[in-house]
């Protein structure tokens, strides 16, 4: 056997491309490490609040569609359950991250509370929709709307920093 390391450039290109794709996919899938700086922590706050707001607003949209009779149960249930899962997982991730200085404790407490509200509100809405309990659903939607407003306030405050 003779050593024939002379892979054609295009072969190398293609192999490289395949390997690169795999590596990049792996790298991009990684969650960012623990927030070490105040700057990093505030970015984390902003991302979490944005994700929570999205979940909460998905809930209020679903509640509106339910009230107007524009959608049927399973589709709304799936949408609200998805939003609830998102809210709870954001809440977990957010709570697990430690603020770098005591100066961030206030925003941490505020967002932790809102994250819990979001998860609970979406949970209440899901249960009410499944039971066909319009009054409770309306109440849950109202709570969610309040949570959304507070989340917007947090985001606005973060943007002013």
């Amino acid at each position: 056997m003779f050593a024939k390391s002379a892979a054609g450039p295009s072969a190398r290109l293609a192999v490289g491309l395949a390997a690169g794709l795999a590596v990049a996919a792996a790298a991009a899938g990684c969650v960012p490490g623990p927030a070490l700086t105040a700057e990093g922590y505030h970015r984390h706050v902003e991302q979490s609040a944005t994700a929570l707001l999205s979940a909460v607003r998905t809930g209020t949209l679903a509640a509106r569609l339910a009230e107007e009779g524009r959608a049927f149960g399973p589709a709304l249930d799936t949408a609200v359950s998805g939003a609830e899962d998102d809210a709870r997982s954001v809440a977990d991730t957010f709570a697990s991250r430690q603020p770098p200085t005591p100066g961030e404790d206030a925003v941490r407490d505020r967002l932790t509370g809102l994250a819990d509200n979001a998860g609970d509100g979406l949970g209440d809405l899901r249960i009410a929709l499944r039971r066909g309990d319009d009054a409770t659903a309306r109440q849950a939607a109202g709570d969610l709307a309040d949570t959304a407003q507070s989340l917007e306030a947090v985001l606005a405050a973060e943007a002013r920093r």
Binding site: K4, S5, A7
Partner: protein, 135 residues
């Protein structure tokens, strides 16, 4: 404008023969021309094409390097022994556009095909049914 490098009399094996589809005399797709064997006769000054090789076992050396070694190791583990299938050049009618044989392919090229038909695909109901062409 015919290129003198591709006239019928002269051809580049890598371009005109290697990696071309092989069909046997029954028009069945046999595989690809995975390698070509050259031989020197007593009186020859230059080697002549003596056979085309097919079957995945012939592919390993073509890939060479790390890929080729991995391929060979994979085939060894898969238990594919016996080396590539050799088709003497006398049975090759033409190389382009596809390699056509004047004989039926040796039974050994169908080993994997037959095994899968007998043990997997053929056991599933409806395996013998093709689409109606007019449908």
């Amino acid at each position: 404008m015919p290129d003198p490098d591709t006239t019928v009399e002269v051809l580049r094996l890598g371009f005109a023969a290697l990696d071309r589809q092989i069909y046997d005399s029954d028009d069945r797709p046999v595989g690809k021309v995975d390698d070509i064997e050259l031989a020197w006769g007593e009186a020859d000054t230059a080697p002549r094409v003596s056979a085309v090789l097919t079957d995945t076992a012939a592919l390993g050396p073509r890939l060479s390097g790390r890929l080729g070694r991995a391929w060979a190791a994979f085939l060894r583990r898969a238990g594919a022994g016996g080396g590539p299938v050799r088709i003497p050049i006398g049975s090759v009618v033409e190389f382009r556009p596809a390699t056509r044989l004047s004989m039926r392919a040796p039974a050994r090229v169908w080993a994997a095909e037959d095994w899968l038909r007998e043990h997997v695909i053929g056991r599933i109901p409806g395996a013998g049914r093709a689409d109606d062409p007019g449908q």
